[in-house]
Symmetry: C2
Subunit: 423 residues, 2 copies
């Protein structure tokens, strides 16, 4: 990543100072005033939908001129329903409970001091994202709701779209008398803006990168500011010997194929040797019918010889497409060992009717999300009931798993005494 | 700080890998087994007290040969009662509730999925500290209790002492069959070990520096790993016009002079113009009697002309000694403005009988700890009821204020379904 320049360093200091002042105002606004800002931003997005569409058309035209994948083009494209969904998303966030109106703990000490731990915004969030323009709107909504200011830095491909969305949100905030500096966008898409944000220790409290693995890994490697992110979602579904056959087939098919490009999609199937002879052929056939290629280890291929061989590297691969790696294992411990060796601590599921096996798996699997008899594709903020999510974290500091409003807050202590001095 | 070398980089990879494996074991040990490890470590410290004392004598002799301040020598010195206090501290931590036995949230989704957020260790903590050998023991105790492995890097001045304490703790862990790699110490005190730890993204989950401001600031500036720390404790006591005079005198004297070298000591007194004529002279006299020099701004000096003048720089100064800066202000807003401008977001107190003024101050003061009618010196983990504290954080990610066991944990999600697939 190119280095921070004098210009971008100065930009960041100015932007972050304004952002912190805005966060201080936001933190003190009553919840309904922050919600009014969100609703006004939604209204402004609806009002400016034509401008947003034409800005997006410029980005899409540039993309088409350059060529690229259909998946990328689809992520970039803003249609009228997608713009409406963006506005509706902000209203949905406004309707959620106020994450700042929470007393997290409250106790009284023997000397009579009453100590309360109360929620407080983190401060200034840096959001670095790539092609999808709605990421900027979701991030702005979640940050505003939680009293944080956000500095957005979108990708160059979606530059016009991101700016049009940002301009609409700012117009809404202005109308609702919420400080506009609470939602800022980097003035350029040059990498030096990213470098300045990553170097912004003391200016930015938290960086959230959303995008491909290479972006996230670069951010994680270079940031001098805490980062919430996942670089990889190499998720496993483990079919235990005690699984219900029909449920296992349904869950594997959904976990792998509902959407293959999401980070919660299953990439590797582990199946017990005791159940594989009766079940693996059907699972592979189900997947094939959905267009998925199965690659099996040697033991799996003795049961389904038509499968291509899965290499060691395949088990390290996050397919993000219609391919699955399959390994036969001997029980929960071997499944956990495989996950510890190849997994990314993101999301894993066990399918079984055996409560003891499930308990063991749920206890000893050390991933952000572990499921019993449910699809790994449930690893998603909206499925958790968080409203939108700003990302999914596989680190352990501040948050893990889908990051919602609560994880965008910090806390502080408020102590009430009656003149106590410390002995 | 000198850069990481190949040797120290290799050391860190090896140490951190062993530490992570140990944390994985610790995380799965029942609470009583972790507590047994702590008690065995305490017993081993008592048993090896003579070795620890003689190791400490070497450090103190080297210090005396080099010369230095009495305060520093006192921090370095381990007496028999101090060694006993170290052992007792580990037993006190063992007696605290298990921070891993907590379900932080538990809810059921409309589709029947039951989602639980459960406490989980952070993983591997890097503890960088200076002269006080007991910091290593406290850190080891809190980390073990919370299922974390810790890599200690003590200062060169206390090198023999830190190693003797570490050896005793390891002997205790060995006796209790707790993995010794859970508590490691850097093999040298060369700065390249610190550099390797700060560069240990992905290997170390969290760095906690304890020591002087220059150490902490260097760590904060250079770390590529999240840092929990405070560089400065520039704390304020604000005497509001509605204060009880006797209480104000008692609180200011305690907040400033109980111990002047702690980060929660008050460094600046703010006093309302409406009450200062009746009270300031007494406060200054109380402080003088305790050996404290008061420095006043122009308004304060019209009331107590004998005071030396407080410069602008004085209000930016964390005295950590028997000096206090005094400014006269006109009400809560001016006090908050002064704190926002000169403070370090650590700890501030208001003294008043006026509930409305107190509420305003408690709501709008954005420090880690804000007190009403109590001494700022209460900003301390043991006074919060946390048992020992591993440090005090003025950042906002993961923790703020005194950092206890709960703040040394992360969480993960456990989801129980009945075969749900995602639509």
């Amino acid at each position: 990543m190119n280095g921070e320049t004098d210009t971008t360093g100065q930009w960041l200091r100015k932007a972050a100072t304004a952002a912190r002042a805005a966060s201080n105002v936001l933190a003190r606004l009553p919840g309904p005033a922050r919600d009014a800002g969100l609703r006004a931003a939604a209204a402004a997005i609806r009002l400016r939908a034509p401008q947003i569409e034409s800005a997006n058309a410029r980005d899409v035209a540039a993309f088409d001129a350059g060529g690229g994948t259909d998946a990328f083009r689809d992520r970039l494209l803003l249609t009228a329903p997608r713009i409406e969904a963006m506005a509706k998303g902000l209203e949905d966030i406004a309707a959620l409970p106020d994450p700042l109106a929470r007393t997290l703990a409250d106790w009284t000490r023997p000397n009579g001091l009453r100590i309360r731990r109360v929620a407080q915004p983190l401060g200034v969030i840096g959001m670095i994202y790539e092609s999808r323009p709605n990421v900027g709107a979701d991030a702005a909504g979640l940050c505003l709701k939680s009293g944080n200011a956000v500095i957005l830095r979108g990708g160059s491909d979606s530059n016009h779209s991101a700016r049009a969305v940002h301009a609409a949100i700012n117009a809404g905030l202005r109308a609702a008398s919420v400080p506009e500096a609470a939602v800022q966008i980097a003035p350029g898409t040059d990498r030096s803006f990213v470098a300045a944000m990553l170097a912004g220790s003391g200016l930015i409290d938290l960086i959230i990168p959303r995008g491909g693995r290479s972006l996230v890994e670069r951010v994680q490697a270079e940031a001098r500011v805490p980062v919430l992110a996942h670089a990889e979602g190499l998720c496993h579904t483990y079919v235990h010997s005690g699984a219900n056959h029909a449920m296992a087939r349904r869950l594997v098919a959904n976990a792998k194929m509902r959407r293959t490009g999401v980070c919660g999609a299953t990439e590797t199937l582990l199946i017990d040797a005791a159940i594989a002879p009766a079940l693996l052929r059907d699972i592979v056939a189900d997947l094939a019918e959905l267009g998925c290629i199965s690659r099996g280890d040697a033991r799996a291929r003795t049961l389904v010889p038509a499968m291509p061989e899965a290499t060691e590297q395949d088990f390290h691969t996050e397919w993000l497409g219609p391919t699955i790696s399959i390994a036969v294992v001997d029980g929960v411990e071997q499944a956990l060992d495989h996950i510890a060796r190849y997994g990314s601590s993101h999301t894993e599921a066990i399918v079984t009717q055996d409560e003891k096996a499930a308990d063991h798996f749920l206890r000893f699997c050390d991933s952000a999300v572990t499921l019993w008899n449910a699809s790994t594709q449930f690893c998603d903020g909206s499925e958790f009931g968080f409203g939108a999510e700003i990302g999914i974290a596989t680190g352990r500091v501040q948050a893990r798993g889908p990051v919602g409003l609560e994880q965008l807050t910090s806390f502080r202590y408020v102590i009430v005494g009656t003149g106590q001095i410390r002995p």
